[in-house]
């Protein structure tokens, strides 16, 4: 199986005005093609930093990161990034928004693919609407399509659902999972929500408190189905779900007082 992403002894220290911040320390892991990996960790442990490294927005202090075998040094075409907020530009229509990445990268030939995505995922009828006219879930879908439009090999999702209310969140997680599976994408899904992390991935990586280190890295297996096909909402009923939840909770040191 092709390796899409690899962290090789990566550490990152931010140089801030009021001193150094050790964000990540000695990170090693890899992601294979088609794999969905959840990274779970407490706030401030360096999850966003980790994704920024993959996206080429910041450079590591030590170690190397490889995407599809190439060392990351700047923004790579193979990487698609979905931020916490949908960041849809309110002065553009939905179509204008999902075309943004293609415009920036000069990939107008992907327009057909965008049309296909909009049609497949129920946004074609909304293409002339503006973001403020769409529900939170629809907006998140539009943001996902904007990211998929540039045909990345790996997607990075940074707490992509945390701005949504709880009910919408459950639905959108299901939605995004299905889209990622249908488009056969690999993804790194970052979250501080343990249940959300378990519900969406094939594998779990747990980061410790800052400076973030990998404290757990294990594949998910369920009794009621394969992690490749078992959708997020259904997983929550699986007997093993609670066990994974508790393992991670204990690892993160969240105890009943």
């Amino acid at each position: 199986m092709r390796e899409i992403l690899r962290f090789d002894e990566v550490s990152l220290t931010y140089q801030a005005d009021n001193g150094e911040v050790d964000a990540l320390r000695d990170i090693n892991f890899s992601v294979n093609e088609g794999e969905l990996v959840s990274i779970i960790g407490p706030s401030g442990c360096g999850k966003t930093t980790l994704l920024s490294l993959v996206a080429g927005l910041v450079a590591p202090s030590r170690g190397k990161i490889f995407v599809c075998g190439r060392e990351v040094s700047g923004v790579l075409r193979e990487v698609g990034y979905m931020l916490q907020k949908d960041s849809l530009l309110d002065w553009r229509s939905i179509f204008g928004n999902v075309m943004l990445g293609l415009e920036i990268r000069g990939l107008k030939e992907n327009a057909q693919y965008v049309e296909h995505l909009l049609k497949s995922y129920g946004l074609w009828g909304f293409r002339d609407k503006h973001p403020s006219q769409l529900s939170g879930g629809m907006r998140q879908r539009a943001a996902l399509i904007r990211t998929l439009a540039v045909k990345p090999d790996i997607l990075l999702l940074d707490e992509a659902f945390s701005a949504l209310d709880y009910q919408t969140r459950l639905v959108v997680a299901d939605d995004v999972f299905n889209i990622l599976r249908r488009e056969k994408k690999s993804a790194v899904i970052v979250t501080h929500d343990i249940a959300e992390g378990i519900s969406m991935a094939d594998r779990i990586i747990v980061l410790s408190k800052r400076p973030g280190r990998v404290s757990m890295d294990f594949p998910l297996k369920f009794e009621t189905g394969d992690s490749r096909t078992l959708p997020p909402l259904r997983r929550r009923d699986d007997p093993l779900f609670r066990q994974y939840f508790n393992d991670i909770r204990l690892e993160l040191g969240i105890n009943v007082i």
């Binding site: 996206a55 927005l57 923004v75 990487v79 698609g80 960041s87 920036i104 540039v150």
Partner: protein, 265 residues
């Protein structure tokens, strides 16, 4: 079918609107009537205070006193000064947004220049660019330039960082970040700025015309004062007020048109 409460609410709202409009118009009419009446009764000296009827006569006499020329000159100088001020202001703000170091270096100068009353530069401007229409235009430009730079730079710097990050994840260049995110994000800042600038430009033009000019409403006001023709002065002031209001409306209409055009892409 509207509920009783709704009908009452709407009626009350409408009554308020009518009351406000009627009051506004009444004040205007009352002022004019009082002014005219007092002048006719000889309570105020219409030679010094002028009088609505005489102002009206001055306006109707536009062929002899060359009013259209003076209005045209002031209008032209204002539009040119305003446009140049806006374009140059946006450009400088763009450069300062691009280079943070330049912005830091320029900061104290901007603050001082902003506080300086630009009218004081009048004589300097005349010596530098020559006494004539060009001096008036530069005056109009100078008065709106620094505010534009400061306002726009502030807007550019405060564009939503999440939008900027999103554009960066697609590998956007700095220029792309500006054209696709920063500038459109600040369109409303720009128009707020322009709405203030149009008034400022007019101030610059009138001040410039006071100092050097052979035509324009500012010239007419000074000339009317010198030859003690208060009718001409008052007429010019009133025309100026109308011109200012119309120019402001024009910018507001432009804003609506641009916003609509941008949203329809």
């Amino acid at each position: 079918m509207l509920s009783d409460g709704r009908v009452k609410f709407l009626a009350a709202k409408k009554r308020r609107r009518v009351l406000i409009r009627v009051s506004q118009i009444s004040i205007l009419i009352l002022t004019l009537v009082l002014w005219e009446g007092l002048a006719r009764a000889g309570v105020i000296d219409s030679f010094i205070m002028s009088q609505p009827a005489r102002i009206l006569r001055t306006i109707l006499n536009w062929q002899n006193n060359n009013l259209p020329l003076h209005i045209g000159v002031t209008f032209f100088e204002t539009i040119i000064g305003f446009t140049l001020g806006a374009l140059l202001g946006i450009f400088i703000a763009f450069v300062l947004w691009w280079s943070d170091v330049l912005a830091k270096i320029a900061d104290p100068y901007l603050v001082v220049l902003n506080a300086l009353p630009k009218i004081a530069l009048g004589p300097v401007i005349i010596i530098w660019v020559g006494a004539g229409m060009q001096a008036v235009i530069v005056m109009a430009l100078a008065i709106s330039l620094i505010v534009t730079v400061m306002e726009m730079l502030n807007g550019f710097k405060n564009a939503d960082p999440e939008f900027v990050k999103m554009a960066k994840t697609f590998g956007a260049s700095r220029l792309q970040i500006f054209t696709k995110v920063i500038f459109p994000f600040n369109l409303s800042t720009l128009f707020n700025c322009l709405k203030i600038n149009i008034g400022l430009s007019l101030v610059g033009v009138i001040a410039g015309e006071f100092l050097v000019s052979r035509a324009g409403l500012g010239y007419l006001i000074v000339y009317g004062g010198q030859v003690f023709q208060m009718d001409l002065v008052m007429t010019s002031v009133i025309i100026l007020a109308v011109l200012a209001a119309l120019l402001y409306r024009a910018v507001a209409l432009l804003e609506t048109a641009v916003m609509r055009a941008v949203r329809h892409r």
